[in-house]
Amino acid sequence: MSLPENTTQTTQFLPNEQQMKKNIRRRNRQAKFWQYVFLFSIILAMFSLLMLFFSIVRQAFTYVAIYDQVNPATLSDKPLEDLSKEELGNIIETYYTGIRTGRNDLRTIVFQDVLGLSINEQDSIADRERAKETVTVREIFEDKGKAYPSALAEQSIIRLQVADYAAIIEENLDQSGLYDFVIEKVVQPLIVDSWPIDQYLLDRDTIDAEIAEAEARLRVEKDDPTLEVSEPEFRSWIQWHLLTETIDLSRPEDAGLRTAIIGSIWMIALTILIALPLGVGAAIYLQEYSRGGPIARVIQTNIDNLAGVPSIIYGILGLALFVRALEKITSGSAFGLGAGGDTANGRTILSASLTMALLILPVIIINAQEAIRAVPDSLRQASYGLGATKWQTVWNHVLPNAMPGILTGTILAISRAFGETAVLVVVGSITRITVDPSGPFSRFTVLPLQIFALITQPQAQFRNVAAAGILLLLAILLSLNAAAVILRNRFSKRAV
């Protein structure tokens, strides 16, 4: 800016020195301004990401207001936690005697929660009873190593009465266990409403008003003027039972995602098995064997186009091809499999994986091609120059050097498959399934689809469950991405 005047050069064409100096001041100002504009863009993008995560986290950790469906006051005069084992046992007995299916409910609780019997074991007990054989309490309980009142030792385990089952439960739990049991099964607290944590911190008034309103409404509904809705209490929707429980579309607080997670894992594993060898094989064929040839050009164009086809189209394809046309194979009936109750025509994990494999195949191929293309030609020439055959060259040099890229691309493709929803909606995985898939020919659901189903539930608390599910999903995807990054770094370090 303050350089001396240019004296030797006659600037016949350019603006004169004075003007140019003025210009340059303006140019520098302009540059500064736009720098901030560009900075703003990136900040906004980052801010969106932040908001995205925030919107989910705030729904996964909420304050909830609860009311008890059975008022504890009607059960006992004393506070429940002060009651003795016996008194709690009585409450259970009384409660279950009062409902129609009480005996069956209690039996299920004993079989599943106390004894931990599998479905098969339960079935076999039922069969033996049907065959007029008495299955005694002692036989089962000693087998499982659980306590039981000795009076019931020779009784048939199926034919016990409510009081007997209650006694068994009482026998197997201590006081606090019984208390929990009473709260869960008898008092049955229900979430009235939930509020994101930020709202709780910033906007208590609305929350209090809403609680009051809900309380008034419930009192009228339940015809119970003493009914109270609790003060907001903190609840994390990320809970262990997300992983251990199946979906329960009646009670959001108990809903788990086990079936969906197992379904996702099955589907992804099968998808990798199908897509990876085919994808890498195709990439090698295109890059190394028919580079530039007419067949390669046709295939290449094809793959590029397929990569841009919306996933829902693959869903439609899968629906028509795998679910319907190839139903015999995808349902497993062609192999004499899947005759059990858990098949759904062609709507099996296999169909979904095949569809998903087709969906991610172009992504894998293109990434693998990119990785293979990035292997310098000089390495191939060096190898050929030493008298290596084509496959020797590919196997010894091209693949090892392209591996990080191929793996990274594959992981990214998998993470896409993991989060993919639309395809499976169309292929028709089932959202209300509670039975874990047992093989490729099972019905199934997957995590994102389950989340979709939860979001579309009318009851608002399912969105909290969905938020928790999303966090789980994101955690898995982030670990996959991190794995891709680590893999890439480790390989690239070794290469150089």
Binding site: S2, L3, P4, N6, F13, P15
Partner: protein, 260 residues
């Protein structure tokens, strides 16, 4: 080195650092006007770094820093209130690989005048013609000014880049191995162009091709990696002295292939 000549550029105790690494140590030299000065030396001796410090192109490298002075018309280019944008206009640069913009030939050359504020189409056309003529490219491209600069051959591209530099009317042109990507015949043409240009411009060229320095330059500076891998100026003299009677034995060793 004549001492009464007019100096286009003068380095005084110039040190250049990348972070903590000193790339060039304590260089002092005076570049005579309207001459071709060549910087030679083995790889990594800092000759490119030194060249790029002459128009503050090094500023673009993160963490680079210059110590000492580079005087241009008595003004230190590394002074506080000096705008590198202004410096680079007056001290142009031609790079190792021809790097025309992916625009038409015309727009390539008009780019500089345009950002300097020249909008008049007629004048721009004049600048383009004059610059192309100076770069000995006019006759080759005058009918194809709308053609992409990338459609030219390597040697023509490099001449286009030179024309583009001339269009902003610099006083000094820095050339960083301008022929290393070209074939022998294109190289020859660029060298002849350089000899024509020195009528009006001061040229400083980095080359790792010793013969090129011998053929085209008037002055030659020989650099070597010294202590701590910092580049040092070993000898600076008229080219024929450097190549027939070098004063420093390291220079003689280098030019006669005894080095290393």
């Amino acid at each position: 080195m004549t001492s009464n000549g007019k100096y286009a550029l003068e380095a005084r105790n110039l040190n250049i650092f990348y972070g903590n690494f000193r790339a060039v140590r304590n260089v002092s030299m005076q570049i005579e006007s309207n001459k071709i000065t060549a910087l030679i030396g083995p790889s990594g001796c800092g000759k490119s770094t030194l060249l790029r410090s002459f128009n503050r192109m090094n500023d673009l490298v993160l963490g680079s820093r210059a110590d000492g002075e580079v005087l241009y018309r008595g003004k230190n280019l590394y002074g506080k209130d000096v705008d590198p944008v202004e410096v680079r206009r007056r001290i142009g640069m031609v790079f190792q690989k021809p790097n025309p913009f992916p625009k038409s030939i015309f727009d390539n050359i008009a780019y500089g005048p345009r950002i300097l504020g020249q909008r008049n189409k007629k004048i721009l056309a004049e600048i383009v013609e004059k610059s192309l003529r100076q770069a000995a490219l006019w006759d080759d491209v005058k009918d194809n000014l709308k053609k992409s600069g990338l459609a030219l051959s390597g040697g023509q591209q490099q001449r286009l880049c030179i024309a583009r530099t001339l269009a902003v009317e610099p006083e000094i042109i820095l050339m960083d191995e301008p022929c290393s990507a070209l074939d022998p015949i294109a190289t020859l043409r660029i060298e002849e162009l350089m000899r024509e240009l020195k009528e009006n411009y001061t040229i400083i060229i980095v080359t790792h091709n010793m013969q090129q320095a011998a053929r085209v330059s008037d002055y030659t500076a020989f650099m070597l990696m010294g202590q701590e891998r910092a580049g040092e100026l070993i000898e600076f003299n008229q080219t024929d002295r450097i190549f027939t009677q070098p004063a420093d034995s390291r220079t003689e060793d280098y030019i006669t292939g005894r080095f290393g």
